[in-house]
Amino acid sequence: MTPYGSFTFFFIVAILLAPTIILGLQGKRFQTYNMFVTILALGLIFSSTLRGAIALILFTIWQVLLIKSYIAYRKKANGNSIFYLAVILSILPLALSKLMPYFSQVNLIGFLGISYLTFKGIQLIMETRDGLIKKDIPLSRLLYFILFFPTISSGPIDRYRRFEKNFQAEVTADQYKLLLYQGINKIFQGFLYKYIIGYSINHFFIAKLRFYAHSQFEHQLYYMYSYSLYLFFDFAGYSAFAIGVSYIMGIKSPENFNLPFISRNIKDFWNRWHMSLSFWFRDFVYMRFVFWIMKKKWIKNRNLVSNLGYILLFLLMGIWHGLEIQYILYGIYHALLMVIYNSFERFNKKHKWWPQNKFTHAVAIIITFHFVCFGFYIFSGQLFHKGV
């Protein structure tokens, strides 16, 4: 069953979470029950494909073994090569599942949500390396974090230390009331976004484009904007479901979207669009890369280092979406935008060429919007599909 894909899914989740809500409203602890719910929900989600279920189990065992042994190792030593090896081994299943389709008819390794779970694994290893996670993590909690069902298929990508804080918190009845209220609010925002607005854009506009567009160019242009809006409402709606259900389970999963279409520039955009992903890449790819280069003093020019960091970040993000040409181009496109914007920002600091006022703010939003939409147009793969 696809998470949040049908009315039945919401209905079953509502029944499963009824005890959580009752416990929560009485100010009692409910995380043990939630763990049990997660097992049931996972069974429901993965019951349709046995192969997917097996892949998930094997993947989880692999990651848990890796994380547990790295934490154990880190208590004693801190070798570079072991750290690199652990990261590579953590990425390995994802990399194989992305490459698999090029070699075999059936994808034995892939399953719904593998890319999102990989983020959680790598993150744990990196934070252990940094000494942020020192103590051994109880197996049940580690599993609960990795397999937390509301966010399993497409995020938002949570951080372990944040998750743990929520997990251990004593929630009073009044605090839970607020969580429940926010959760329900989020879920209904999700319905509005995904099943009313997103659905309408797709059903009444994108599917009927050939009646609206009078030429090939018009067709592509309309598609570009409508697809961008559709993508946002669909994904933001999905994220709202995931966050809403998390809240009801007492876990404040991070936000994923913050009005991305009013971004002033491309940097601003990436602080508003798919935030849990871009922040992950910022913290675990960009920052690390910049620190590492600076520490080794290979390149002195801060600006160049920063640009190289962006290029690395967006190339990786592109590839992470898939090895298809459109995703790689999407990564290159955003890397380019970032580098250009970075140079522009520096230039403007010196020359004060672009003033800051209400008018320029509005113009900046409009310009950014069009560049962003063109990015999604690349992402959609429409350019590479023959015919319309």
Partner: protein, 400 residues
């Protein structure tokens, strides 16, 4: 953050509860009686996929249901809906079908009403294009499949078990049935001896039944809302004319409206395909409608009609001969269909108006595949004879 406020969600749940629990009788009481008459030419897909309106229609002797597909929407002045309206016939044609409503879809719909079909006169318009080598496909089946009819079929005890099993095997090939966890379980249990499956099905059945009741209610709400009137021509110019005169009128109209091509296709339709026309030349070499799983699907439909005692008249629509020759579609591939389908219908003892010799009759067809203008005139005559219990004739008689 704001103060938690739960009254809206509680209110919403209450409204939902009322909508779901309100007795069906109350909703039926609110549906205006006129709805059935309006629905006759609305060609509303929700009505095709529903139950209530068709049930009321079948109860009423004054309706003559016409089942078919996309040709039904060619509502020109010769269309049965206009012709029998303005000539003051005692029956009103009631149209059921749109593009993609092929045998399996109609089969489910007929099964829904088996107990109402005894002695019921009806018309069924066939399209050669249903009989593709692969039969009907997802793109035709999915938009027309009705969950309500699918679920009712699962609980249907009236349809002959052998027919039911065969139909289920076919239905399980399509995603809306296959991917429906309740329905596919019950369907699979019907066609297997596996005790596990049977047990699973009996576990699922109460839930499926509850869901089915929800679908019944949904259909009532849809019937309450109704559809939009379909664009149609209402013209009195077809009144008090002999069939021959009508045919001449239809020819004149056809020639006026299809000037930009040599295939006797309407200008508008031809403009749509104009760019592709050169590339379609001889593109259908070796094609045939003579072999298709659709024949078996159609046989199931015939069996259900036979069992329920319905009195259908089948209209065998030809293709546009000039166009089909242009695309290189072989004559044998067409005649194989006409002959096979005729034999199949007649062997059940049903009547057929076979218009297959009109392939090259100008303006019999409105475009490449849809009957229109003169084709409707022939159809009108066949329907009139059929309704009056006379022998169905395939020609128009005297031309004056």
């Amino acid at each position: 953050m704001k103060k938690p406020l739960f009254s809206p969600i509680i209110l919403a749940l209450l409204v939902l509860l009322i909508v779901v629990l309100i007795p069906n009788k109350w909703i039926e009481g609110m549906i205006p009686k006129e709805r059935i008459n309006q629905a006759a030419t609305e060609l509303n897909p929700f009505m095709f996929q529903g139950k209530y309106v068709q049930q009321k229609m079948l109860e009423n002797k004054h309706f003559l249901p016409i089942y078919g597909s996309s040709e039904l929407a060619r509502l020109d002045r010769f269309h049965p809906s206009n012709y029998f309206k303005v000539t003051g016939e005692e029956f009103t044609p009631f149209l059921i079908g749109r593009g993609g409503t092929e045998s399996l879809i109609h089969l489910l719909n007929f099964s829904e009403h088996t107990n109402q079909l005894k002695g019921k006169k009806m018309v069924f318009v066939l399209s050669p294009q249903w009989f593709q080598p692969q039969g009907t496909d997802e793109s035709h089946f999915v938009p027309n499949y009705s969950s309500l009819q699918g679920y009712d079929f699962a609980f249907n005890q009236k349809v002959n078990p052998t027919i039911k099993k065969e139909a289920i095997k076919r239905l399980l090939k399509f995603s809306p049935v296959k991917d429906d966890p309740f329905l596919s379980t019950i369907y699979q249990a019907e066609i297997t001896n596996d005790p596990w499956m049977k047990r699973k099905a009996s576990l699922v059945r109460p839930f499926a039944y509850a869901y089915r009741n929800l679908l019944v209610k949904k259909d009532l709400y849809y019937s309450l809302v109704g559809g939009k009137p379909h664009k149609r021509e209402i013209s009195h110019k077809v009144r008090d004319k002999s069939w021959g005169k009508l045919a001449i009128q239809a020819e004149k109209m056809g020639s006026r409206k299809s000037k930009n091509n040599q295939f006797c296709i309407t200008n508008g339709q031809f403009n749509k395909i104009k760019k592709m026309v050169p590339s379609l030349k001889d593109s259908k070499k070796g094609a045939s409608y003579g072999k298709s799983p659709e024949y078996d699907d159609f046989q199931l439909l015939l069996d259900v009609l036979k069992e329920s005692g319905a009195q259908p008249l089948f209209i065998s629509v030809p293709v546009n001969g000039k166009w089909y020759d242009y695309t290189g579609f072989p004559k044998e591939g067409r005649t194989a269909y006409y002959e096979r389908i005729k034999k199949q219908i007649q062997s059940q003892g049903f009547q057929i108006a076979d218009f297959s010799n009109h392939e090259y009759d100008p303006y019999f067809m409105k475009d490449t595949i849809h009957i229109g203008w003169k084709g409707w005139v022939y159809t009108d005559k066949a329907i009139k004879n059929f309704y009056e219990g006379k022998k169905v004739e395939e020609d128009l008689g005297r031309l004056n």
